[in-house]
């Protein structure tokens, strides 16, 4: 499905007014009787300093506009499709990590200003590109074909020197390293995966209703059986 088809399915044809660039998209849409802001990437964008600045500028604009109008803060829908961070000497020299931290700080500012935030993985969500804003949202949703990973198993095998076949075997019952939205669901970092047949418009509406500003992902991972140690160990250190 192309990006316009997806936006039609989410907001209804005519329900969105979104500027679509090569990698970046931003604008607004209507959900029921309220406006939402839509910001994100598509075409498996490699996130570089320029793209990070576009995303952060859009978030800041939404916050500032809503402060200025004195209206209740609009929810922000982050459209996530990224192959990860851009890899180049130039980007590293500029300190790309600082630009990513800035994006994260913008999402955090939005949250503290009362904006609900939802990420929708509609393509790939990879590594650093996913960290900057996708994983920062209150609630993370994924389309059925979403690809979520740090690295594919072949590259992982090369670096860790663990045979590829063994990694494939182990990933059958462990969600901890193999790519897949399902694994991130079990570990609590993807809150919900929508089915192909579902009414995605109502899925998004429902997600907005239950989006929670507190970070409960470790508890969710424990509850779903995919991440058994994070919550108890954090608890142990927090209250030892």
């Amino acid at each position: 499905m192309n990006i316009n088809g997806l936006l039609d399915r989410l907001f209804g044809p005519g329900g969105h007014s979104i500027n679509i660039g090569d990698n970046f998209l931003h604008g607004s849409a209507v959900m029921g009787d309220r406006q939402v802001a839509v910001i994100g990437t598509h075409e498996h964008a490699a996130i570089d300093t320029a793209l990070a600045l576009e995303v952060s500028a859009s978030i800041l604009r939404v916050i500032r506009d809503d402060l200025g109008r004195g209206c209740s803060p609009r929810p922000v829908i982050f459209m996530v499709d990224t192959q990860g961070q851009a890899l180049s000497r130039h980007e590293e020299l500029l300190c790309l990590n600082g630009y990513f931290a800035h994006v994260a700080q913008c999402v955090d500012l939005a949250r503290r200003n009362g904006h609900r935030t939802i990420s929708l993985i509609h393509g790939e969500a990879v590594s650093g590109g996913f960290l900057a804003f996708g994983l920062m949202a209150d609630r993370v949703c994924a389309l059925p074909e979403a690809q979520v990973r740090v690295m594919d198993l072949k590259a992982m095998s090369r670096i860790t020197k663990i045979p590829y076949d063994r990694l494939v075997d182990l990933s059958a019952d462990s969600p901890v390293f193999a790519p897949g939205a399902e694994n991130y669901w079990r570990m609590g970092a993807v809150h919900e995966i929508w089915s192909a047949e579902a009414d995605w418009r109502s899925c998004l509406g429902a997600a907005l209703e239950i989006a929670d500003a507190g970070d409960k992902r470790a508890l969710l991972g424990l509850e779903r059986g995919g991440r058994l140690h994070a919550a108890p160990i954090a608890q142990l250190v927090a209250s030892a």
Partner: protein, 300 residues
């Protein structure tokens, strides 16, 4: 008369750094090695485990100031973040909200996500990021100290940049993708990871200080890290931390946008040094830290 030789931050272990950085004997560790909370994921892959999963976390005092402190062990799996390791950092930050120390110190020495448990590591980094922001929102500052062999890379490079202060040595490095990764994917012409002077000119302490990414550049000895940290604890103690508001985040945005425009084609730290007023560019890497800081200050 005693003549105490400086202790290299770079060479020291995580625990060695903590011991020398804080007031003698004041470190109290949470979830210590004797509890043997090792990584179950490394064990399943028959990879070596560590009883502290590569990070020590605890409380201490520094010049009498109450602090919480974490130190990553770069010699264990490159300081990489797995489920247990990450949870210890998240727990420490949460404790900071409750205990309200003068600051939380993160001695970062990490390549980022631990690939053996990549998904758990990535999620943990995201939880640490939220943890740092939450702790700051509660009024507790978080400082990063970077001077180990693994630097602050991957997700830990992002975490480091969320901190209120970044104290680096010249030997420290800060970035997102390591030079080896860029060379592997994009080729040696893009980034030659064996060209060590180039690697430091792109990610090292001096170029990070010149860009304003590191807030302090210190000599590679633990006492230098300690005295700057003590000075900061005093300063933050006098003036409570204000949570970043729209104006502050907008100012940061303008600063980053200006840099991206100004250095739109730069690929070598020499261009940054030149723009920072250094004339003899071959000399910059040889300049003692004090002299480097002084020249930088004179130009600004």
């Amino acid at each position: 008369m005693t003549n105490v030789r400086p202790t290299s931050f770079f060479e020291a272990t995580a625990r060695g750094r903590v011991a020398k950085l804080v007031d003698a004997g004041s470190f109290r560790e949470f979830c210590p090695p004797r509890l043997r909370r090792t990584s179950p994921h490394l064990a399943r892959l028959n990879a070596p485990v560590a009883f502290d999963d590569g990070v020590a976390v605890g409380s201490a005092t520094l010049e009498g100031y109450k602090i919480l402190i974490a130190a990553q062990e770069g010699k264990f799996n490159g300081g990489a973040v797995g489920e247990v390791h990450g949870a210890k950092l998240v727990g420490l930050l949460d404790r900071g909200i409750r205990e309200r120390p003068a600051a939380v110190l993160l001695l970062v020495d990490s390549g980022g996500v631990r690939l053996h448990e990549a998904n758990a590591g990535l999620i943990a980094i995201s939880e640490i990021m939220r943890g740092v922001l939450r702790t700051q929102a509660a009024g507790v500052p978080v400082f990063a100290l970077v001077g180990g062999a693994c630097g602050a890379f991957g997700g830990m490079g992002i975490v480091t940049r969320l901190c209120n202060e970044i104290i680096m040595s010249e030997e420290g490095r800060l970035g997102l993708s390591g030079p080896e990764v860029i060379e592997t994917v994009k080729g040696v012409e893009e980034f030659d990871s064996r060209d060590r002077p180039l690697v430091w000119r792109v990610t090292g302490g001096k170029v990070r200080r010149a860009l304003g990414e590191a807030t302090y550049l210190v000599d590679d000895d633990i006492d230098s890290f300690r005295s700057v940290t003590a000075e900061l604890l005093c300063r933050y103690g006098a003036k409570p931390l204000a949570v970043a508001d729209i104006d502050e985040v907008t100012a940061e945005h303008a600063r980053l946008a200006e840099r991206a425009g100004r250095f739109a084609t730069a690929r070598d730290g020499r261009e940054i040094f030149q723009a920072s007023g250094f004339v003899d560019l071959d000399e910059v890497s040889l300049l003692p830290v004090a002299k480097f800081n002084q020249q930088l200050l004179e130009y600004i």
